[in-house]
């Protein structure tokens, strides 16, 4: 390579620029990763506050705190913010921080586009949140925005919602393209695909899912936009369309989307459990193939969200069996995690606690998913709190616990300091208790028939709802402790070594702690 490049690279090594423009103009994967993670945490607190509004209203039967219209806005915005604003950006932030370090790359493959992917998000969510103050209020049709609730009967703010979703889609697609290009093209010499850390593998597959389905989401919101403003009849039976078409297109996006939120979590668990078991991951190849199978199956199960909508019998059966099939590769994964721990020298630092809780509680969410997959009984569960319990069990102790686990696991690498272990454990146990108090009783009220998205309920559900609400406030306030722990860790603490954890294995642990501003200027050799 020419001398120009060498020179160019040299003035790179001086570290980050100063001031605000460092963050606005940055092309550095660590800066961008940090911004994603902070953005995600802010959204987590905002979305969480909305959840607490919901739980406060549901603390006891009757209408007390908010009016039903606002309640609907809260359920909708809570879902949208948590899915698109908290969970997805958190995983993209982890990908940014970790993938270049894990594959031995200098940075992400397309650093400027990386910056663009991030900065779109605050604008998109500012737009979405601003709709709370618009005439007619924020979107109130549920995070799944079924037509015609989101078209004919929607508040005017739906138009901004649509363009906000477009912006999030642009951001996700560009982020995913960057991840794929980095993984396929920037691996260090010797790192073959089957030597990649599992977090990298799961993200490669997640990125593929993102590129495949975010355009479909863009398509479905575009159809809504046209139905609302240009009198098309995609979702209007009077013109020959069908409101059910909305659900098909939405869930063709929506089901892969839920795997987008869980596959990187699988990757995180597969990094952490071997470290604290001091053993290699059990069944690495089967983990890779299981992840790929889950991703492929996710494209042929979407209508299990629509069993009660009036599908033909053949459709009900196909989507029921296809959905159950997903339990097989997922079971392989759970088996491998447990086998990794089997006869290991286990220690229970905070990341490991979160990872073990992830395996157990995610499996509970998986089992309730299997129950929901059974079409004939889904007619009973559909749109009840049982569904709410199910997807919160896979998202909170699934996706979000894995994000906490990852944060504790890699914080020493990021900041150069160990976090406060006692506080970390307190955060874990309070979160663990809080979330089970919140979501476990929802199984019972759901099975008994309490409908979701309704601000009032019948007397017999009062006790369980009170428990849920108390758990929610415990879980919610506990997250401020997490904020404190992270800030404390950034400001100081015990110096972290390069390897940080005794059993840790992988390229990121060969770099000093804190990791230098530019990861690998010279690619390392992988044997």
């Amino acid at each position: 390579m020419s001398a120009v490049v060498g020179e160019h690279h040299d003035d790179h090594h001086h570290g980050p620029a100063k001031g605000l423009t460092r963050w606005i103009y940055t092309t550095n994967h660590k800066d961008i990763g940090s911004m994603y993670l902070w953005f995600s945490f802010i959204m987590f607190l905002i979305g969480g506050t909305m959840a607490l509004v919901i739980r406060a209203e549901l603390f006891e039967p009757g209408m007390q705190i908010v009016d039903p219209g606002f309640f609907n806005q809260m359920t909708t915005m809570h879902g949208l913010i948590m899915v698109f604003g908290a969970v997805m950006p958190a995983f993209v932030g982890l990908a940014n921080w970790l993938i270049p370090m894990m594959v031995g790359a200098p940075d992400m493959a397309l650093p400027r586009m990386n910056n663009w992917s991030f900065w779109i998000l605050p604008f998109a969510f500012a737009l979405l949140l601003s709709s709370l103050f618009m005439e007619g209020g924020a979107p109130n049709f549920g995070w799944t925005f079924y037509a015609p609730l989101s078209t004919t009967y929607a508040p005017p703010s739906v138009t901004y919602f649509i363009f906000g979703v477009h912006m999030m889609g642009v951001s996700s697609i560009m982020g995913a393209i960057n991840v794929i290009a980095t993984i396929l093209n920037l691996r260090a010499p010797g790192m073959t695909l089957m030597k990649m850390p599992l977090f990298v593998w799961t993200w490669l597959i997640t990125a593929f899912l993102l590129i495949a389905v975010m355009p479909v989401l863009a398509g479905v919101v575009t159809m809504m936009l046209m139905d609302i403003h240009f009198d098309t009849s995609f979702f209007s039976a009077a013109g020959g369309g069908d409101p059910v078409l909305f659900q098909h297109v939405f869930w063709f996006f929506g089901h892969p989307e839920v795997y987008i939120m869980i596959l990187p979590a699988f990757g995180v668990a597969s990094q952490i459990i071997p470290t604290f078991s001091r053993k290699r991951l059990f069944g690495y190849p089967s983990m890779v193939y299981a992840t790929a199978s889950i991703a492929i199956l996710s494209f042929v199960v979407w209508a299990h969200h629509m069993f009660t909508v009036g599908l033909p019998l053949a459709g009900e059966l196909f989507f029921m069996y296809a959905t159950m099939l997903i339990a097989v590769p997922t079971g392989v994964k759970v088996f491998n995690w447990v086998s990794t721990m089997f006869r290991g020298s286990l220690t229970f630092e905070t990341p490991m606690l979160f990872a073990i809780a992830f395996v157990i509680l995610f499996t509970i969410g998986g089992f309730s998913g299997l129950m929901l997959a059974i079409a004939p009984v889904d007619f009973q569960y559909h749109d009840t709190y049982f569904v709410v319990a199910h997807f919160h069990y896979v998202l909170v102790p699934g996706a979000i616990f894995s994000i906490f686990a990852a944060a504790y696991y890699w914080l020493p690498k990021w900041t150069g300091h160990m976090y406060d272990e006692a506080l970390g454990k307190a955060h874990f146990w309070l979160s663990f208790i809080g979330l089970n108090l919140t979501f476990f009783p929802m199984h019972f009220v759901g099975l008994a028939g309490m409908p979701r998205r309704i601000p009032d309920y019948a007397m017999q559900f009062a006790d369980f709802n009170m428990v849920s609400s108390m758990g929610a406030f415990l879980f919610g306030t506990t997250q401020l402790l997490f904020l404190f722990i992270v800030l404390k860790c950034i400001r100081g603490g015990k110096k972290a070594t390069a390897q940080v954890w005794e059993g840790a294995d992988g390229l990121e642990w060969t770099l000093p702690s804190p990791a230098p501003y530019h990861s690998f200027s010279e690619p390392p050799q992988v044997k």
Binding site: M1, V4, V5, G6, H9, A17, T21, I24, Y25, T27, P106, D107, A109, P111, R112, M113, N115, W116, W119, I120, F123, L127, P156, T159, Y160, F163, M167, I173, I177, A181, N185, R187, P189, I211, A212, M214, P215, V216, A218, G219, T222, L225, D231, T232, S233, F234, S236, A237, A238, G239, G240, G241, D242, L245, H248, V249, F252, P312, H518, P523
Partner: protein
């Protein structure tokens, strides 16, 4: 991997944030105009936002692509960088494929499931409970509720302008391939000629499409609001037309860059990316011709 030399990591860049502001203003502007039109209020503010946002976007495109071209000309890009661009463009085109798939899916769903069900197929409930008079047909000239959605008088025949347009676009795929072969052999005047021919074919195609749209609106009552046939027809051909327009602009820019000597027989990924895009647009058209016009 012999090409693992120092990979070019660009310095700080102002373009992404400019792009964000431009995108934001453009989309909020468009949204505001649509809301105002639907509510019957004054859309001036929206138009201003859109205008400013769009100008910023154009400025960004010149600036960002300009700096990428300069870096490439300065020899900063390795073969590995080239591969990053290739992966990037390939997956971008895949995302476009999925976008069109959503609309094709809607077309097939409406035609093969929704319309038959509305006409009484299956258990017949949708027919007896909603519009018992409704009968199945495709193209759908009479909608379930003709008062809300008056149907078209007639639809576009595939064997006139659409057939001609198919020939035009298919030949444009040939002309761009000739240009590509010429660029590899460094036959400069041949490149310019065939690239210009491709842009011209694209422009003529668009001319015919616009003519067809005017004809449909004025004489056939085939509009966006004439029921599901018009909806799927205009959305699919409309998005395709937007892509042809964009593709032709990209090819034109590539032609200008070629004239300035930006490409060498060995290194001309900008040209290839534009050609990939053009072929993609071509394939979409063939699907449109078969599934929207003929069948």
């Amino acid at each position: 991997m012999a090409t693992q030399q120092s990979y070019y990591v660009p310095e700080q860049s102002k373009w992404p944030i400019i792009a964000t502001v431009g995108l934001f203003l453009t989309l909020v502007g468009v949204g505001t105009v649509m809301m105002n039109n639907t509510q019957g209020t004054d859309p001036t503010t929206g138009w201003w936002m859109f205008g400013i946002g769009f100008t910023v976007l154009i400025y960004m495109l010149f600036g960002w692509f300009g700096s990428v071209a300069k870096e490439s000309m300065a020899g900063l890009y390795s073969e590995q960088m080239d591969r990053s661009f290739r992966w990037g463009m390939s997956w971008f085109i895949f995302s476009e494929v999925m976008f069109f798939s959503a609309f094709f899916g809607a077309l097939f769903y409406a035609r093969f499931l929704a319309v038959p069900w509305l006409a009484g197929e299956g258990d017949g409930a949708m027919n007896t409970l909603l519009w018992p008079e409704f009968e199945r047909a495709w193209p759908l000239l009479s909608n379930p509720d003709p008062n809300l959605f008056p149907g078209p008088k007639e639809v576009i025949s595939p064997w006139q302008i659409p057939l001609l347009n198919t020939l035009l676009l298919l030949s444009s795929s040939v002309t761009i391939t000739i240009a590509h072969h010429a660029i590899k052999k460094d036959e400069r005047s041949k490149v310019k000629l065939w690239l210009a021919a491709t842009v011209l074919l694209g422009a003529i195609f668009m001319g015919f499409q616009i003519y067809e749209y005017i004809h449909a609106y004025q004489y056939l009552d085939l509009t966006l609001s004439s029921g599901i046939y018009g909806t799927t027809f205009f959305m699919l051909t409309g998005f395709h037309g937007m892509h042809v327009t964009l593709g032709a602009i990209i090819l034109f820019v590539i032609l200008m860059r070629y004239m300035k000597g930006h490409f060498t027989p060995k290194q001309h990924f900008g040209f290839e990316a534009a050609a990939w895009y053009w072929h993609f647009v071509d394939v979409v058209w063939v699907c449109l011709f078969v599934f929207v016009y003929i069948m």
